[in-house]
């Protein structure tokens, strides 16, 4: 990554100080017995390293294997082969009792919250503490602390049926944090929530990550979730990780088809219908070439089209575009049309300015 030094300022420390990762998956494969008895491969050859204090987003379509993958981390699923190291211990090889103990340092939240309907918010949060054998006074103090942390102190005596979806997930988060875990697993935690509530839950998770230094691994099928909270992303498809790396890099320079299809829904990347419908693979007399320009980091705000016109006399038509922020860094996409005869010159010019280009087609 060639980001100038100034950009290191907002990077978490773990990127500068190499340390033993908190979660490490080594050559994981998982094979299930299918309905007819034939083996079904859910995961194959997964290698994944999650540094302490980081936020890793795992994105994939339903059935891609992400649910299985996240459940390997707390031993709810056992790998068919490979090792799952969490905080130095091989979770996949621990005996049941030791595994239960290890799970106290791995919290988990769920899409459907999975709260006990028979317990109030406070009692739900208390449950992992009761299970771990804390005494009553310690539980009471810890529960108050947790409910305050998630902003639900005034709802302590409400039953889940009396809470909104966002409030239920806050209870879920408080419960997951009860035993002071080092890792928090999020299984589509915002998929059942509306966009605004999703926003507030993600903000809460980001705050927990920053304030408590908790490592977060989340699975989702929504790019928006990854973009707003994750630093690292792994794209999973057909049981394999097809692309992984820094969110900013993956978002701005997607290499795999699946990643691109996830990004297609992102604002500014999708072509407006009036362009998409007229797009042809080949140039025709009088047509314009359509180029997608990706602006990254410091180049995102460069007046590059103005320079193109001034220095080369090429006038580009803006067809679509946006400037946004991913993982705290600016980036943008612009779809422009240029005269066919200027295409090569334009591409050269853009590359010289450090911009990513992609020729999408031609419009008459």
């Amino acid at each position: 990554m060639n980001a100038p030094l100034g950009y290191l300022g907002d990077q978490p420390l773990h990127r500068l100080v190499p340390a033993e990762p908190i979660v490490r998956l080594e050559k994981i494969s998982k094979v299930f017995a299918g309905r007819d008895g034939s083996p079904v491969t859910a995961l194959s050859e997964i290698d994944l390293v999650v540094p302490q204090g980081s936020v890793l987003g795992i994105i994939g379509r339903s059935g891609a294997g992400k649910s299985t993958l996240i459940r390997l981390v707390n031993g709810l699923e056992k790998p068919s082969s490979g090792r799952v190291i969490v905080d130095g211990a091989d979770v996949s090889a621990l005996p049941e009792r030791a595994l239960r103990h290890a799970r106290r340092s791995i919290g988990m939240i769920f899409q459907h919250f999975n709260l006990l309907s028979s317990r109030t918010a406070a009692e739900n949060v208390a449950l992992p503490l009761e299970v771990a054998g804390y005494d009553k006074a310690a539980i009471k103090a810890r529960v108050e602390e947790l409910l305050a942390l998630v902003g639900l102190a005034d709802k302590r005596n409400r039953y889940p049926s009396e809470l909104s979806g966002g409030q239920k997930q806050r209870v879920g988060i408080a419960r997951a944090l009860a035993t002071n875990p080092k890792v928090l697993l999020s299984d589509e935690a915002t998929s059942a929530l509306d966009p605004e509530t999703t926003r507030s839950i993600l903000d809460l998770l980001a705050r927990i990550n920053a304030e408590l230094g908790l490592t977060i691994i989340l699975i989702t099928h929504e790019m928006a979730v990854i973009r707003s909270i994750a630093r690292d992303v792994a794209v999973i498809e057909g049981g394999r990780i097809v692309e992984q790396g820094d969110v900013f890099d993956v978002f701005t320079r997607p290499r795999h088809e699946v990643t691109r299809s996830f990004l297609a829904d992102e604002t500014g990347r999708a072509l407006p219908p009036y362009v998409a419908n007229r797009l042809q693979p080949d140039a025709t007399p009088g047509s314009q070439a359509v180029i997608r320009i990706g602006f990254r980091g410091p180049h995102a705000t460069d007046p590059v089209l103005a320079r193109l016109a001034r220095d080369l006399g090429i006038e580009a038509n803006i067809l679509a575009g946006s400037v946004d922020e991913i993982a705290g860094r600016p980036c943008g996409t612009l779809v422009v049309g240029v005269p066919e005869q200027s295409l090569a010159t334009t591409l050269d010019f853009l590359k010289q300015h450090g911009l990513d280009t992609e020729v999408l087609g031609h419009v008459a």
Binding site: L76, R100, A102, F110, N114, L116, S117, P128, S161
Partner: protein, 221 residues
């Protein structure tokens, strides 16, 4: 209605309540763990023991498919072993209990299976042991369903108890048959039926109310 009749109905009601209460109590104590085990011992479940589960299932079904009156006479030797006699109210409690155990076990199994699997997963994820999952998650969450099941079991036992007159068990059913039918006293028959209706209504409404109070799944007014 003569004072004599009222005295007979009162003592028969007492016998019925005694038989039903004792047999329901014992059958709950034994049927509850059986039901919990049936609900959690299938393949891939908390106490996975698919074969034991299957065998117990067959035994439960066999007991439930035996007509009650046949069960009463078929287990007379066992009744004598337990109660010391095969006739009377105490002896009648034995077949009533035997019949109620598998019934209650199935009702409790059903109530427990209704609990969202996601809760078991969540509990496993925070480190709960299988026993903790049963007593801190499954039973509390299934409690409204369990209460409704036990209510149904008590109502059924009231019906079954009418048949134990065959072994001198006494109670309302026995009174109705002997006085109402064999002695041609239709008013006695009617009185017995009315008392049974009142009992069933009372049991059902108490059970319903309790289940509703325990159910936090729906917003309470």
């Amino acid at each position: 209605m003569s004072p004599e009749m009222i005295r007979l109905i009162a003592s028969a009601t007492g016998e019925t309540l005694y038989m039903v209460a004792v047999s329901a109590g014992i059958a709950t104590l034994l049927g509850m763990p059986l039901g919990i085990f049936l609900a959690t011992s299938g393949k891939g479940e908390l106490f996975a023991a698919p074969w034991v589960n299957r065998v117990l299932g067959v035994v439960v079904n066999a007991t439930r498919s035996t007509p009650f009156i046949i069960l009463v006479v078929a287990i007379i030797p066992f009744t004598r072993l337990i109660a010391g006699t095969s006739i009377g109210t105490n002896a009648a409690i034995v077949p009533l209990t035997i019949a109620a155990i598998p019934f209650i076990a199935r009702l409790i199994e059903g109530a427990i299976r209704e609990v969202d699997q996601g809760l078991i997963e969540a509990a496993r994820a925070f480190g709960a042991s299988p026993l903790q999952i049963v007593f801190k998650v499954l039973v509390p969450e299934a409690l409204p369903g369990i209460v409704l099941g036990l209510t149904l079991a008590v109502v059924s036992l009231l019906g079954f108890s009418a048949m134990v007159g065959a072994v001198g068990g006494g109670g309302l059913g026995d009174l109705g048959i002997r006085y109402g039918y064999q002695r041609f006293m239709p008013e006695m028959m009617l009185a017995v039926v009315v008392v049974l209706i009142v009992l069933v209504q009372a049991v059902q409404s108490v059970g319903d109310r309790l289940a509703r109070r325990l159910n936090k799944r729906v917003r309470q007014a």
